[in-house]
Amino acid sequence: MISSFERHGAMEKKKPVVLVNERYCKGCHICVEFCPTSVFEMRGFTAVVKNPEACIACMQCELRCPDFAVTVSQ
């Protein structure tokens, strides 16, 4: 049986970190539209991470961002 501490630790390890480089982002909406779990939203002319907990690390945003602005890491 897994203790709650271990389970928590395992979850923490897997949690993806989504970052948007605001200097590179040109606000094309691609990440906002193609994210299946609505992690991003537009704020002014750039995309921002609104809902980081929802990220399932499908990597669609990093794959599709034409501006090298979105990175997903663990």
Binding site: F34, F68, T71
Partner: protein, 271 residues
Amino acid sequence: MGFDYGKYIRPGKLPHIWCPGCGHGIVMKGLIRAIDSVGFSKDMTSIVSGIGCASRLPGYVDFCTLHTTHGRGVAFATGIKMAKPEMNVICVGGDGDGVAIGGNHFIHACRRNIDITYLIMNNNIYGMTGGQFSPTTPTGAKASTTPYGNPDPPFDIAKLAIGAGATFVARGTAFHAAQIDKLLAEAMRHKGFSVVEILDSCPTTYGRRNKYKSVIEMMNHLKDVAVPLSAAEKMTAEQLRGKVITGVLYKENKPEYASEYRKLVERVQAG
């Protein structure tokens, strides 16, 4: 977890000049992933381009790069391959650069079957110069020089390449981003002239003149028109109307020009 593009990008060159939503950035990522997967070293890879939006690509990537005159990317790439056959030569460019201004260089490079990978980012327009129609602008589409609709039928770049003698021809789209690196990697491994056409989107000069409301609509259009080769084989001509077949469309093995030329030199020198 994600791919580290940073090691292949020249420091301080980003953000790039491409417009918001331009697919060229997606294709450039695919090219970087492909080179990484094939394992070409930076010193032994030469990326050559002509002029245009797509041809700005070599400025951002940290390889041996050459930015040449309009349409002449393939001609310069041929020179590099002939002088240094051990180099991995990749030529990049747009549709106007590749099949209009450089159309002659393109067909003759196909004919010779020289070992170059030619990546054509086809966005159906001359984006950089203000949206003039190109040879791949669809019939009826509006451009700055065809305000009442384009009367010309477009080129099918893949068929042109096959007809001219290219030995590897593939097509993908900027929407199918994960496929781009696979097509390019296969093209780079192929010994001979490989043409990879990636259908791209130009929201600024093509999309807004042709009733695409957003970048997303253009991306979804690419998604809708693309049909993989395996699916297309089961479809009728009627079902395929207006669709674009993607995947590796043609592949054959033929003698490669640079190595054949070297053999000729050795034969003549031996007397």
